[in-house]
């Protein structure tokens, strides 16, 4: 598959939040302010990329030679959890400035289902290493894009007069639905 087409498809057309409804917890929870949305988005890109590449190597260099493909799910879960712990430890120890920006979001990512989805998706679709890397950057980049757009809309919404029964998450879900409809128009792009 064309790399550019794969990138656009993963980021915009098959956007993980709007088409698969994955990662809804941070999407709703961390999208109230633009700053936190950018921090969370950056942390998700970093973790998904690292976890997906590691999962790729684990699958093709350990599980396949040993005929243990059926262990894919359990090993990926353990690998992702270990990777997030390692990243948090590393950032804590060697980059306090980065920890101040991203550290708080790392525990949230451990339970983010998008990380496991991207790792599994790369294997299921039989992507090569390069395609895996592109997909593992484009998918969380799409997540970050949605988070940032959504945060800016919610910041505006907070200043508007929303009916009481729609305040908070209800109006956020309505907005997310409208965004999903808007982005479905990009389906013919690639």
């Amino acid at each position: 598959m064309n790399i550019l087409a794969l990138f656009i498809s993963a980021m915009l057309i098959n956007n993980i939040v709007l088409t698969k409804f994955l990662g809804m917890c941070p999407f709703m929870g961390v999208s109230t302010h633009l700053d936190s949305a950018i921090g969370m988005g950056a942390a998700v890109i970093f973790v998904i990329f690292g976890a997906s590449v590691l999962s790729y190597f684990l699958y093709y260099f350990v599980l396949v030679p040993l005929n243990l493909e059926y262990m894919q799910l359990i090993t990926f879960i353990l690998l992702i959890a270990a990777f997030v712990q390692f990243v948090e430890l590393f950032v804590k120890k060697f980059s306090p400035a980065l920890y101040k920006q991203l550290g708080i979001y790392l525990p949230l990512i451990t339970t983010n289902c998008t990380v496991l989805y991207v790792a599994q998706d790369n294997i299921t679709k039989g992507y090569t290493l390069v395609e895996t890397m592109v997909n593992s950057i484009a998918t969380p980049a799409g997540f970050m894009l949605m988070l940032v757009i959504f945060a800016t809309i919610r910041e505006r919404l907070n200043q508007n007069n929303v009916p009481k029964s729609f305040q908070g998450n209800p109006i956020a879900f309505v907005v997310a639905g409208i965004m999903a409809i808007a982005f479905s128009a990009l389906a013919g792009l690639v």
Partner: protein, 66 residues
């Protein structure tokens, strides 16, 4: 039989790696100025989320200050 043993060893190894990294992570001191970082998460309503407790405490403290 060998395949099953290898599978168990692999899973156990990854689990052990997880436990070791978790313990190391807990032991590593938080950098200066980051001791009281709290997530800016408006709590989506998932009661089992680890961040929810922190968020509720933060909100309680804010309400107490008002």
């Amino acid at each position: 039989m060998v395949r099953i043993i290898v599978a168990v060893v692999l899973a156990a190894g990854l689990f052990l790696l997880n436990v070791v990294l978790l313990r190391l992570n807990k032991k590593t001191p938080v950098p200066e100025g980051c001791e009281n970082l709290t997530p800016d998460c408006s709590a989506c309503g998932m009661k089992d989320c680890a961040m929810r407790g922190t968020y509720e405490k933060k909100k309680e403290a804010e309400n107490g200050n008002c």
